[in-house]
């Protein structure tokens, strides 16, 4: 029971991070039907932005309040990552819109290679550890000498994720931008005829996905305390799995999928084998796509001639 509870807490934390990344995949897929393969590496780059500015704030400016530093870092990382994603869309994906369908996917794979290798060249191939930002936590339960703890870091991740998801849900459901996005998702040509700036809407979709990936990146850095240039691929694939599991194109689906993948991964490593945890995630991806391609909350795809 204690192990179960602890794994539940860890799983939700990990799942929140996956969910935040998964939203980027699901939105882009929803609006232009493309698997944004470089999204995982955008997430990794955002963690590097966070790392760099955290170091600048703490070592160069000598800021002592960690919470304030973290908030500033989060904002900077969100802005820069959004800019990065905007530039990538502009350079690598927009010229290929309307080209044959594999072209954007290949371009995205190329961009993913570019991002991870660029960060490797610019920042070096080693792991980048930071001192723990803050430690401590609640003891939720203590029996048989096994203390179930909910650390402050985990609480911070839960709260930040929840707040951002609500804000995000509000943007998509209630603002003109969200309406434009949903219109483009349904019928891009019709939306353009009705006066929606489709290019701008697509750009903003990339920007929003990247901003959430930046939140995930900052939280990832502060949770694990280490980041490496190759950290984009596996979380990226897992987040994509989450998006597919939840039903690609569906925002609540992405979050639920993220939480499920996080829980499955932690329970798998807790009860079975830590070596095979990635195998478990990849197997789920394959099984879901084969037997339930529309996901949990997605609409079944209708085949038209």
């Amino acid at each position: 029971m204690e192990v179960f509870l602890q794994q539940l807490i860890n799983g939700i934390t990990l799942g929140s991070i996956y969910g935040l990344i998964a939203i980027g995949y699901t939105m882009v897929f929803g609006i232009i039907g493309m698997v944004n393969f470089s999204h995982g590496d955008v997430f990794m780059t955002s963690a590097f932005f966070a790392l760099i500015f955290l170091l600048v704030l703490t070592t160069v400016f000598g800021m002592s309040s960690m919470i304030l530093a973290l908030i500033i870092v989060l904002v900077i990382a969100m802005v820069l990552t959004s800019l990065l994603s905007w530039a990538i869309e502009r350079i690598a994906y927009r010229p290929l819109r309307g080209s044959f369908r594999l072209a954007p996917l290949i371009s995205a794979i190329g961009m993913s290679i570019v991002l991870s290798n660029f960060v490797q060249v610019a920042q070096g191939p080693r792991n980048k550890p930071i001192p723990p930002i803050f430690s401590g936590g609640f003891e939720v339960m203590n029996s048989n000498n096994f203390a179930v703890t909910l650390s402050y870091k985990q609480m911070m991740i839960w709260i930040v994720t929840a707040v951002l998801l609500v804000a995000f849900w509000y943007i998509v459901q209630k603002t003109p931008l969200g309406r434009a996005q949903r219109a483009c998702e349904q019928d891009r040509k019709m939306a353009a005829l009705l006066g929606i700036n489709v290019d701008r809407t697509i750009s903003l979709t990339f920007v929003m996905g990247a901003a959430l990936a930046a939140v995930a990146g900052t939280l990832y850095l502060s949770y694990y305390g280490v980041v490496n240039f190759s950290d984009g691929f596996v979380p990226g694939v897992k987040a994509f799995t989450a998006a597919v599991l939840g039903g690609i194109g569906s925002l609540p689906g992405a979050v639920i999928g993220g939480l499920l993948i996080g829980l499955i991964e932690t329970f798998w490593s807790g009860y079975f084998s830590i070596d095979y945890k990635d195998v478990a995630a990849f197997s789920i991806l394959a099984i879901v796509l084969i037997f339930m391609p529309q996901g949990l909350l997605g609409r079944p795809e209708v085949e038209k001639v």
Binding site: A92, L96, I106, S107, G110, A122
Partner: protein, 460 residues
């Protein structure tokens, strides 16, 4: 886009170009500033500290601003003019182009057979090692993998991002069976191919119903699963440490070593490792040509035509009574078969295999070669392999750059970065790949080249 249109009519719009270039500069400064300008380094106490590199940032931003300005004012108008002229001209390939198309393939095959002779006569046996091994063999392995994957992606239109898994199956089959049972390469080569083909069918079966992007992601997942199992199943595969001292290939029982009945002693030649490399070169050349030959012949058979029909329209295919299950499985199995051959060759050549050689990156490189080559065009795939693999191998040779950028400069680390940039760049420049027109396999009365933009990619 709007700027381009006006530019083609009234000459370049300098003010707009300046504005655009400055904007790119601001974006570049914001992105490269932190990532390049503030390098995180570990100091003696294992703490990260920031090192400023603002000169480098300034250089990068300047290059981007000036480059963007030149593109907008000079390159884009020239391109637009060229396009207009090309559009005005009726499409008639010149006699030179036609002759080139006809003679290119036989001429390059002849060149490939003569290549080691040429290199050896120019540089001697020791000097030839690098050029035969790093360039010849390395490129030919990727040509073969590209042609093998071309069956799956280019002909049947099934995007497979886990192709490297079959390559791994071939490599590990040879590595394990030869080191445990001492079987010869010539027995294991077909066996490795068959094992890989079986895996192709096993993995192909569940994914038959999937289409396009989903298929790509599931095959990616399978590729990663196989790699992770190779890492974690330590009893069989020795984990990440890999399997070393894999037996070499023999030529009719003649070994390429210093033993009395080895190749060099037998023909009374001075000892050199170059003979073995040249032998391997011809071996992979023949294997690659076998792949090409089988593909070309299969395209004329019903199954090959069914692949191409499947790529163009799966629903039409079904309506005409083609068994799509069998068609897809044969494509998967044949593609995997050739990957298995290439894998066993790879294991024999390296003498060492580890899961590191079979990462997703390898799959991405092979897919890139096929797509950049023009999906379905054999010559295009070969050209793409030469350009991408040969080009990145060349980077290892650029030692003179150290003289310019200082001793810490290592061109090798930019290999994959440039590879990725080339992938994006070529996709934008020529989304249909290098060779974007192809000859139809079957035709009525007159043979006409089909433009790549008329050929749909698969939805399988």
């Amino acid at each position: 886009m709007a700027a381009e249109d006006t530019a083609s009519k009234h000459g370049p719009d300098i003010a707009a170009a300046v504005k655009d270039a400055l904007l790119s500069g601001v974006v570049a400064l914001a992105l490269f500033g932190p990532l390049v300008g503030l390098r995180t380094e570990q100091n003696m106490r294992n703490e990260l500290v920031i090192q400023g590199r603002w000169g480098l940032v300034a250089a990068i931003v300047a290059v981007i601003v000036i480059g963007r300005f030149l593109i907008l004012t000079l390159v884009a108008p020239a391109l637009a003019q060229h396009r207009n002229r090309a559009a005005a001209r009726p499409e008639h390939p010149s006699a030179l182009r036609q002759a080139l198309g006809k003679w290119f393939a036989p001429a390059s095959i002849a060149f490939l057979f003569l290549y080691p002779v040429l290199i050896v006569s120019l540089l001697g046996f020791q000097g030839s090692l690098k050029w035969v091994d790093n360039f010849g063999i390395q490129i030919l392995i990727y040509v073969m993998l590209g042609w093998g994957l071309n069956i799956v992606v280019g002909l049947a239109g099934l995007l497979d991002l886990g192709y490297v898994a079959f390559y791994a199956v071939g490599a590990y089959s040879y590595a394990l069976l030869s080191s445990h049972f001492g079987l010869s390469f010539w027995i294991l080569l077909p066996m490795a191919g068959i094992f890989a083909a079986l895996w192709g069918i096993m993995l192909g079966f569940p994914v038959l119903r999937l289409r396009g992007d989903y298929l790509a992601i599931v095959t990616l997942a399978f590729g990663e699963i196989i790699r992770l199992v190779l890492i974690n199943w330590r009893e069989l595969t020795n984990g990440s440490a890999g399997i070393s001292s894999i037996p070499k290939v023999t030529l009719f029982g003649i070994r390429f070593d210093a033993s009395p009945d080895g190749f060099a002693k037998m023909f009374e030649l001075p000892l050199s490792s170059a003979y073995y490399k040249i032998f391997l070169y011809y071996l992979i050349l023949l294997l690659a040509l076998l792949t090409a030959f089988v593909t070309i012949r299969l395209r004329k058979l019903p199954v090959g035509r069914a692949w191409e029909a499947l790529r163009e329209d799966e629903i039409a295919c079904r309506s005409l009574g083609i068994n799509t299950t069998n068609t897809k499985l044969t494509a998967f199995a044949l593609g995997a078969l050739f990957a298995g051959f290439a894998g066993s060759f790879f294991a024999a050549r390296q003498g060492f295999v580890s899961p590191e050689s079979f990462t997703f990156m390898e799959s991405a490189i092979i897919v890139a070669i096929v797509v950049l080559g023009g999906m379905g065009s054999m010559v295009g795939v070969a050209l793409a392999a030469v350009a991408m693999i040969g080009g990145t191998e060349l980077l290892r040779e650029l030692a003179f750059l150290k003289a310019i950028f200082g001793d810490n400069f290592n061109p090798d680390q930019f290999r994959m970065l440039i590879f990725g940039l080339a992938m994006v760049g070529i996709m934008i420049w020529k989304p249909r790949g290098f060779v974007s027109s192809r000859e139809p396999t079957i035709f009525l009365a007159e043979k006409k080249a089909i433009s790549g933009s008329l050929v749909k990619e698969g939805h399988g």
